[in-house]
């Protein structure tokens, strides 16, 4: 028996530098009875044991106006996201997913929060970000952590030892 599975074409991975602006284009069909304003948002995301998380500093958004139509209308739209560098509280070097979603009203909820957005599309591991300098405050602090902990432990143990000698 022949089995054919149809799936959307996967997006090709793209390489970007921290600070770049990425234009994300989406397409969809809609039907609506009255003039409707929606917000299209896009953002990089990462996943861990606790789920998917937006890089909140890099969320881009644009407003869309849907004109009434009882027949399905094809529409394309674009939204820009700025890959704010990690040193400014933005995105770190690494590989990220890309998610776009549509919500009505002013809801700023992320795309995985209920109530669900009107539409959402996402793909893991398509944004490869590099170009963050390695000398940021966070990086320096991270590399010094083991040494700091050792010093702190010695600081705690030292008085005990000296107290025992007296």
């Amino acid at each position: 028996m022949l089995e054919v599975n149809l799936a959307p074409l996967a997006l090709t991975t793209g390489n970007f530098a921290a600070g770049d602006t990425v234009r994300v284009t989406v397409s969809f069909q809609y039907r609506v009875g009255v003039d409707t304003s929606l917000t299209l948002r896009a953002a990089p995301y990462y996943a861990n044991l606790f789920g998917k998380h937006l890089v909140s500093a890099c969320v881009g958004q644009t407003d869309l106006l849907l004109e009434p139509s009882s027949e399905a209308v094809e529409k394309t739209a674009a939204v820009d996201i700025v890959l704010t560098p990690g040193s400014l509280g933005g995105i770190e070097n690494g590989t990220y997913g890309l998610v776009v979603w549509l919500r009505s009203g002013n809801s700023t909820a992320d795309p995985w929060t209920l109530p669900s957005p009107l539409a959402r599309a996402e793909q893991d591991n398509v944004l490869v970000v590099s170009g963050n300098s390695g000398g940021g405050i966070t990086d320096t602090f991270s590399s010094m952590m083991p040494m700091l902990m050792l010093v702190m432990m010695l600081g705690m143990v030292g008085p005990l030892l000296s107290g025992g000698e007296e």
Partner: protein, 187 residues
């Protein structure tokens, strides 16, 4: 603005003085569902009891096709039926769009025509139509409709016919499909 059309055939309409019905009034078992149904000799219709209300069996039918509509658009419903019997004046043709569910039909938009039926010993075909304008506050579940002919003098036996899911209502909430990322590039 475009007017969309839906056509229904109500079949035959009988005068109340029609020949005796095929079934004796009383309770029967529906062979398809196994549930008890009541046959009313006066209306010559089977009824089922749902939520304390007797609902005629079989007057709602799957729609052969769907008409897509939004607020402000117009829907023309055309009906045809046959009548043989004495002349009738003031019979009512009723057109309803609404919600059909377990407890019957909830009417949302209603239209009526009044007409006279000629005396005839052979069935004559009558056609009629009513045009609805879909209101702004239309609900997306207003997707059912029915039409019936009844009343008049002398009164005709009620003849009713409807379609479930005949309308695809485009309301104030958008319906989005085929949503996908087509591209992403550095600008």
């Amino acid at each position: 603005m475009e007017t969309k059309t839906l056509e229904l055939n109500l079949g035959g309409v009988r005068p109340l003085q029609a020949p005796p019905q095929e079934y004796a009034p009383g309770w029967y078992v529906d062979p398809e569902s196994g549930q008890p149904v009541y046959y009313d000799g006066e209306t010559r219709t089977f009824y089922t009891l749902s939520g304390g209300i007797y609902i005629p069996l079989g007057y709602m039918n799957p729609a052969p096709n769907q008409v897509t509509l939004g607020p402000g658009e117009r829907l023309k419903v055309s009906i045809s039926y046959k009548y043989a019997g004495p002349a009738v004046s003031g019979a009512t043709e009723r057109f309803c769009v609404g919600v059909y569910g377990a407890f019957g039909f909830t009417e949302k938009i209603i239209g009526t025509n009044t007409r006279s039926l000629s005396q005839s010993t052979t069935p004559l075909t009558y056609t009629s139509e009513y045009t609805f304008t879909i209101p702004t506050g239309v609900g997306t579940d207003w997707d059912d409709l029915y039409c019936k002919v009844s009343g008049g003098s002398p009164s005709v036996n009620e003849s009713i016919f409807g379609y479930e899911n005949a309308l695809l209502i485009t309301g104030k909430d958008p319906t989005i499909s085929e949503f996908k990322i087509t591209d992403f590039v550095k600008v």
